[in-house]
C-alpha cells in the first residue's frame, strides 16, 4: 500500500506573499467599493439602499446623460487607440525587426521613451506644444505654409478628445511595438527560411507568415489597450482638469468617477454614487475582458514550433 502523499506546505508558503498582498490591496478594496455602491446617506446615517444608486445613475436623466457621454467618449478614445496606436506599433515593430535597418536600437529606445514619462509631463508638454499663444505647433505649421490648418485643438469640442487620444497614442505606441517586436523575434528562422524557399518574401511574407504568428500578441495588446483606456483618467485630468472641458467633450469614465467620488470645487464628494460609477466601470471592463477571453482568445490558432 502506497504511503499517503505528505501535504505540500511549500505551495501555500510560496503563494502566500502574493495572495496576501494582492488580497489586501486589490481584492478587499474592490469588494469594499462594490459594497459601498449599495449604500447611501440618509441624514447623517449610512443606510442600505440596494440598487437605488444604479437606478439614479441610469434612470435620472442628469446622471445618465453624463454617464453615457463619458462612456461614448471612452469608446471613441479606445477606437482611436485601436486604429492608430496598434497598427503603428505593429508597423514600427516590423520595420525594427528588418535586418537591413541601421541604428535599430536607437529608434527602439527613442520610440519607447515617452512611455516611461509621467502623464503630468506628457500632458503639460503637449499643452505647451499645442498652445495657440506660446506653442511651437502654430509656428511649425506656418513654416510649411499650413498655418490655416491650425486650430486651438484642445479647446474645441469637436477636436479635443481626438487630440488627447492621439497624445496618448504618441505616449504609449512603444508598448505594442515592444510586444510585437519580441513576438517577431521569437519566430524561428527555419519557418522564415521555409517561406523564402517557397518564394514568399517582403510584404507577402509578413502578411502570410509573420502576422498569423503574432496574432496572439496582438490579442493581448488589444485587451491591455481596452483595460488601460477604460481605466484612463490621468491625461484628461492633467490636460483639461476635472471638468473635462470644453463642455464635457473629453469627459471619460475616470474623470466622471473622480468628480463624483471626491467632489470638485463647491461640489462635495459623494462616495456612494462614486462607488456606483466605479462598479459600472468594473462591469464594463469585466464584460469586455470576458468577450475577449471566451469569444476571441479560445479561437486564436496557436502554432507550436
Amino acid at each position: 500500500m502506497a504511503r499517503r502523499k505528505p501535504f505540500r506546505w511549500h505551495i501555500g508558503v510560496f503563494l502566500a506573499p502574493a495572495v496576501l498582498v494582492y488580497t489586501a490591496i486589490m481584492i478587499i478594496p474592490l469588494f469594499g467599493t462594490l459594497n459601498l455602491s449599495l449604500f447611501n446617506l440618509e441624514g447623517q446615517n449610512r443606510i442600505f439602499v440596494g440598487l437605488a444608486n444604479f437606478a439614479t445613475l441610469f434612470g435620472d436623466p442628469r446622471w445618465s446623460d453624463a454617464f453615457w457621454n463619458a462612456l461614448g467618449n471612452n469608446c471613441w478614445f479606445f477606437i482611436i487607440h485601436m486604429i492608430v496606436q496598434n497598427p503603428i506599433g505593429i508597423l514600427l515593430a516590423a520595420l525594427l525587426s528588418s535586418p537591413r535597418l541601421r541604428m535599430a536600437a536607437f529608434y527602439r529606445t527613442a520610440i519607447f521613451i515617452p512611455t516611461i514619462l509621467s502623464f503630468v509631463i506628457v500632458g503639460f508638454v503637449w499643452k505647451l506644444i499645442l498652445s495657440p499663444i506660446w506653442g511651437i505647433a502654430p509656428g511649425m505649421l506656418d513654416a510649411v505654409g499650413l498655418k490655416f490648418l491650425f486650430a486651438p485643438w484642445l479647446g474645441k469640442e469637436e477636436y479635443a478628445l481626438t487630440t488627447l487620444a492621439l497624445i496618448s497614442v504618441w505616449q504609449f505606441v512603444g508598448i505594442p511595438m515592444m510586444l510585437i517586436y519580441a513576438a517577431l523575434l521569437s519566430i524561428p528562422d527555419d519557418v522564415i527560411e521555409a517561406a523564402e524557399m517557397d518564394g514568399l518574401t517582403g510584404w507577402a511574407q509578413f502578411w502570410k507568415i509573420k502576422l498569423p504568428l503574432i496574432l496572439p500578441s496582438i490579442g493581448i495588446i488589444s485587451i491591455l489597450t481596452f483595460v488601460g483606456n477604460f481605466n484612463a483618467f490621468d491625461l484628461i485630468y492633467v490636460a483639461q482638469g476635472a471638468l473635462a472641458g470644453p463642455d464635457f467633450s473629453t469627459d471619460i469614465l475616470g474623470t466622471f468617477l473622480y468628480r463624483t467620488f471626491f467632489g470638485f470645487q463647491l461640489q462635495l464628494g459623494d462616495p456612494y454614487m462614486g462607488s456606483a460609477i466605479a462598479t459600472a466601470m468594473f462591469g464594463i471592463i469585466l464584460v469586455g475582458v470576458c468577450i475577449y477571453l471566451f469569444g476571441i482568445q479560445t479561437r486564436l490558432r496557436r502554432y507550436q514550433f
Binding site: G155, G245, Q265, L266
Partner: protein, 416 residues
C-alpha cells in the same frame, strides 16, 4: 548634501523637539501656498513675539487638493490645530460633522459685520465657526500705458467699455482682453459673477434667487450671459485653449490691454508687469447708475474641534480677529481685503483703487456660493461650464440660463 548641513538639520530637529516640549505648537492647514513666505517672515514672528510660549507652523497644501486632503486628514484625526476655511458649504459641512469648533463666543467676533461672518455661519446665524480674514473684489485691471497710447479714457458705462474694446482691436497692437475658456472657472468667476451684480442689483437679486422670487431665466440673470457672448470677439486667437496662467502672462507681458480680474492678482501682477496698471469696476448701463461689485468673502480661519491645544488656538484666533492682524495681512497681501470693521490703511495704489469701490458701489458676494451649490447638479460648477460655453459661442445665453435654472429647480425647493 554636505556633512555640516546634515548635522545642522539633525541639530535643528533635536532642538526643535526640545523647544516644543515646553511650548505649544499650532499647525495651520491652508490652501494659500503662495503666501508661505509672508506667513513665515511676517505674520507668525509678530504673533510669536507677542505670545511667548506658542509656536505656529504654517503648513499649506496645493489649492486644488486642499479640500480633499483636509477632509481626509480631519477624518483620520491628523489635521492641524487651525483650519483655513473655504466660504459657505465646504466649511459648514465640516462644522456639521463636528470637525470645526463653534467660535461664536470669541471676543474678536465683535469686530466683524454680519455680512462678513455670513460665509462661516450656520444658516440661522446662530453659530459662527471661523474668524473672517479677507475678501476679494472683482473688476478689470487695465494696462495704463496701452490706454494712454491709444487715448482711451477709463470706461464707466457698458457702451464706453465696448467702444474701448473696439478701439483696441482696431489698433491691433494689443489683444483687447486676456481671458481663455480652457480652465472654465475664469469665465464664471471673472466673467459672469464679475459683471452680473450690475444686472441683478447685487444682494437684492442674490437673495431673491435664494428665496425663489427670481429665476435664473429672468432677464437680470440672462443679460450677463448676453454680455459675455459679446466678449468672444475681443479675446485673443485660440482663446478656447488658453489657460488661466496663459491669460495672466499675456497681460503681464504687456500683450493684452484689459484683464478681467480678481483682486488676488494684485501682488503677482505688481511683481511681473513692467508697465503702469489701473483698475475699474464692472461698467454700468448708463452713467450715474448705482454700481454693484462682487466683494466675495473668501478666506477665514477656524479651529479643529479635536485640537489638543484649544486654548493656544483660541489665543491665536483672537489675534487674527484683531485690527493689528488686519493691517498686517492686508498690507502683506494686497488684494486680500480685511473684513475687520476697523478700516485698514493700505499702501498699494492698485489695492487702494479696488477697495475704494466699496465706498461708491454696493457690495455683494458671488451669486452661486451661498446655499445654491448644495445639491446635484452643483450650480457653481454648472455656471463654469455654461459661462465658458456662452463665451465660446457653443451655447446661446438663453439656453445656458434655462439649463442652469432646470438644474437648480431639480433639487432646490424654493425654485421648484
Amino acid at each position: 548634501m554636505t556633512k555640516t548641513f546634515r548635522f545642522a538639520l539633525l541639530a535643528s530637529t533635536l532642538l526643535g523637539g526640545a523647544a516644543s516640549a515646553q511650548d505649544v505648537t499650532l499647525t495651520i492647514e491652508s490652501w494659500r501656498n503662495d503666501d508661505l513666505t509672508i506667513w513665515q517672515d511676517t505674520i507668525i514672528p509678530a504673533f510669536e513675539a507677542a505670545n511667548p510660549g506658542i509656536k505656529v507652523v504654517f503648513a499649506p497644501t496645493a489649492p486644488a487638493e486642499y479640500n480633499a486632503a483636509l477632509n481626509s486628514k480631519l477624518a483620520a484625526g491628523s489635521a492641524g490645530d487651525l483650519i483655513t476655511c473655504r466660504p459657505f458649504d465646504a466649511s459648514l459641512e465640516l462644522y456639521n460633522q463636528g470637525h470645526l469648533a463653534d467660535l461664536t463666543g470669541l471676543a474678536a467676533m465683535a469686530n466683524f459685520s454680519p455680512v462678513a461672518k455670513s460665509a462661516w455661519q450656520t444658516d440661522d446665524g446662530a453659530a459662527t465657526f471661523c474668524v473672517p480674514m479677507a475678501s476679494v473684489i472683482h473688476g478689470f485691471i487695465y494696462n495704463k500705458d496701452a490706454f494712454d497710447a491709444l487715448g482711451i479714457a477709463v470706461p464707466t458705462t457698458r457702451d464706453e467699455f465696448f467702444a474701448a474694446l473696439d478701439k483696441i482691436k482696431a489698433d491691433g497692437t494689443y489683444i483687447p482682453m486676456a481671458m481663455g475658456t480652457n480652465d472654465q472657472w475664469e469665465a464664471a468667476t471673472m466673467g459672469y459673477n464679475n459683471i452680473g451684480p450690475n444686472y441683478w442689483k447685487g444682494e437684492e437679486g442674490r437673495l431673491a434667487l435664494i428665496k425663489g422670487e427670481q429665476k435664473l431665466t429672468d432677464a437680470p440673470w440672462v443679460a450677463p450671459f448676453e454680455e459675455l457672448a459679446r466678449w468672444k470677439d475681443y479675446l485673443g486667437d485660440g482663446f478656447e485653449a488658453q489657460t488661466y496662467p496663459d491669460s495672466q502672462n499675456l497681460f503681464t507681458l504687456g500683450r493684452a490691454a484689459i484683464y478681467p480680474a480678481g483682486s488676488w492678482e494684485i501682488a503677482g501682477f505688481n511683481a511681473q508687469a513692467g508697465f503702469a496698471m489701473g483698475a475699474f469696476p464692472p461698467p454700468v448701463a448708463a452713467a450715474g447708475d448705482t454700481c454693484y461689485i462682487s466683494d466675495h468673502t473668501d478666506i477665514a480661519i477656524g479651529m479643529n474641534a479635536k485640537s489638543p491645544n484649544a486654548e493656544a488656538a483660541k489665543t491665536f484666533l483672537e489675534w487674527v480677529g484683531s485690527a493689528e492682524f488686519a493691517a498686517m495681512y492686508a498690507n502683506a497681501l494686497p488684494g486680500f481685503f480685511s473684513l475687520n470693521s476697523t478700516p485698514v490703511e493700505m499702501q498699494d495704489p492698485l489695492a487702494q483703487e479696488f477697495v475704494s469701490w466699496r465706498g461708491k458701489c454696493q457690495s455683494t458676494i458671488r451669486s452661486t456660493y451661498q446655499i445654491l451649490s448644495r445639491g446635484t447638479p452643483n450650480l457653481e460648477n454648472e455656471t463654469w461650464n455654461a459661462s465658458a460655453n456662452v463665451i465660446r459661442g457653443s451655447e446661446a445665453p438663453a439656453d445656458a440660463a434655462k439649463r442652469l435654472q432646470d438644474g437648480l429647480a431639480s433639487w432646490y425647493e424654493p425654485q421648484k
